[in-house]
């Protein structure tokens, strides 16, 4: 059975079409990634799935319940760990967890035991009775995660779980999420604008761009579909149009031109053999080359391939 089914979601805020027909489905027990730059519609999609936002059109079912018609049933089944924490900074970690559990209908010894268990699980038991204001960024994020898990949800939504964390804390959190997914037998939907995060964590993922899903698949499968290697050529001057023609003639057709106006990406069957050929061809045409690099397909390339845009540039530009 599918844990999440999303069909044709549309949502407009004023002049902005935040969602423009988002469709995908998530199987029970998997970690599913929604990958895309800021502003692509990932968070809005999650907000529809956790019943915060009403879509203008389309349908979504979470754990067998329609998010519009059976909102409260959905709310009992899901855990939501939002991008911005929403924790009560003036309360202690334990108080936050107790309140969250109570509104989910838990009480007494069962709730107290569950809260103790979670404080241990996410590693903030020592700080449980301290006011959250004094927590570090990583500790707050761990508390957020515990808050989403109190009532033993079946589906967990993690919106940008590692944004704002330093690289070390990020890697630690990845391990944590993978461990939780295992231990709590959860279906997890996570959004991220870090390609390596999706690559590391997600069993399957969907790339979201401009309010719709451009491609859906496993990270390995998506990369395998891009046969061959990416060759990135950086020119000294911006003779992009000439270079395109030359590269096409050298059996290395250009797939994309990056926003800096002097970097081209070509896809070739074998990077090692192509590089001398490319350099020779460009040199013969009088085009100066600053650098050439070869890379095996990465999610970056997958993104580039399906959207025609460079991920890093698009992400920082929005």
């Amino acid at each position: 059975m599918d844990a999440i089914v999303v069909e044709g979601l549309r949502k407009r805020y004023g002049d902005v079409q935040a969602l423009d027909g988002v469709s995908f489905s998530v199987r029970e027990g998997e970690i599913f990634g929604l990958l895309g730059p800021n502003g692509a519609g990932k968070s809005t999609t999650v907000r529809v799935l956790v019943t915060l936002t009403h879509p203008d059109e389309g349908r979504a079912v979470v754990a067998g319940h329609d998010v519009a018609r059976e909102a409260n049933a959905v709310r009992r089944t899901i855990g939501y760990i939002p991008q911005e924490s929403g924790v009560d900074r003036y309360g202690t970690g334990r108080e936050n967890l107790m309140l969250q559990g109570r509104v989910q209908g838990m009480h007494g010894r069962e709730l107290r035991a569950r809260v103790d268990e979670l404080l241990e699980l996410v590693g903030i038991a020592d700080a449980a009775d301290r006011v959250v204001q004094g927590y570090s960024g990583g500790m707050k994020r761990r508390l957020d995660i515990a808050l989403g898990l109190v009532h033993r949800p079946r589906v967990l939504f993690l919106d940008e779980p590692t944004t704002g964390l330093d690289p070390e804390a990020r890697v630690a959190l990845w391990a944590e999420v993978a461990r939780l997914a295992e231990r709590e037998t959860l279906t997890i939907l996570l959004t991220t604008h870090y390609l390596e995060e999706a690559d590391e964590l997600a069993d399957r993922l969907a790339i979201v761009s401009s309010g719709h899903v451009v491609v859906e698949g496993t990270p390995a499968g998506l990369k395998a579909e891009l046969r061959g290697d990416a060759v990135t050529v950086e020119l000294v001057d911006g003779q992009v149009d000439d270079a395109r023609r030359v590269l096409a003639g050298a059996d290395a057709p250009v797939e994309a031109t990056l926003a800096d106006g002097r970097t081209l990406v070509s896809r070739v069957a074998d990077g090692g053999h192509a590089v001398p050929r490319i350099i020779a061809a460009l040199g013969g045409a009088g085009i100066a080359v600053a650098s050439v690099s070869v890379s095996r397909p990465s999610l970056d390339d997958v993104y580039l391939h399906y959207t025609g845009r460079d991920f890093a540039t698009e992400d920082s530009g929005s």
Binding site: H54, G86, D88, E95, V103, G105
Partner: protein, 257 residues
């Protein structure tokens, strides 16, 4: 039932957080005393004008200070809602089965409980200053209840504006805009008989004055219980209306997400 239970949980959370603020508690207790002592001294001789129902100005003033303090406190009560909205605290609970009503109601109840506590402090200080509550224990209860009702009534408006605008600046503007005008359009500081005619008429439509009339009637001799009952009734009705307004604005906020 769920709404009531969840309201209790949410009020507990706010109360616990406030208890961690010793400065807040100190100001909460000192502020009403300052009103009472400052105004009590400033206008001490005004009772000679007549129409005050007592020659002791502090006796005339004490129940009205309860109302004034409750009213002032209420105009700021939306600040906590704006903070909870800003910090996404409210959103976190919207993704749970938490009662929607409880998220608004708890703010009003918290505000009213604070006002009730301050009312008690004022009455104790007034007692020390020689104020005699004519109707005894029942009178004390009425004064505290009036304080809580006046507070709830205006807290509902403040919460509604907080939800509509989601900006602290609006709360500050509201507090300034209605604070002093409604105070001076009431018999808080002066006997209604000493007010110009048009102000006396306007005061009859001022909820602050309803509270002052009810609270003062049980403190001074010659209590007219039917008037007390009527004014309490007005205040209860107003509380229901403004709480409904706050709840309506919360629905509008949720639809805007």
């Amino acid at each position: 039932m769920t709404a009531a239970r969840h309201t209790v949980f949410m009020v507990q959370r706010q109360a616990r957080n406030l208890m961690r603020e010793p400065i807040w508690i100190a100001l909460l207790l000192i502020q009403p005393m300052v009103w009472l002592i400052l105004y009590g001294q400033l206008f001490k001789n005004v009772t000679r004008l007549g129409g005050f129902g007592t020659t002791s100005y502090v006796t005339f003033l004490a129940p009205a200070i309860v109302v004034m303090n409750s009213f002032f406190g209420a105009t700021w009560s939306g600040m906590a809602m704006v903070a909870d909205l800003d910090r996404k605290f409210v959103e976190r609970f919207l993704a749970t089965p938490a009662s929607r009503l409880s998220l608004v109601l708890s703010q009003i109840v918290r505000s009213a409980l604070t006002a009730g506590l301050q009312a008690l402090v004022i009455l104790v200080v007034a007692l020390a200053l020689g104020v005699h509550v004519h109707t005894g224990a029942l009178g004390w209860l009425v004064v505290v209840v009036v304080g809580m009702l006046v507070n709830s009534a205006f807290a509902g408006i403040s919460q509604g504006l907080a939800l509509l605008t989601r900006r602290e600046a609006t709360m500050i503007t509201l507090a300034n805009f209605i604070g002093l005008p409604l105070l001076f359009l009431s018999s808080t500081l002066l006997a209604q008989r000493q007010m110009p005619h048009w102000m006396r008429v306007a005061a009859d439509f001022n909820p602050v004055n309803w509270g002052v009339k009810a609270a003062r009637a049980v403190v001074l001799p010659g209590t007219d219980w039917s008037s007390v009952g009527v004014h309490l009734g007005y205040l209860v009705a107003l509380c229901v209306v403004t709480a409904a307004f706050a709840n309506w604005t919360f629905r509008a906020y949720r639809r805007s997400l």
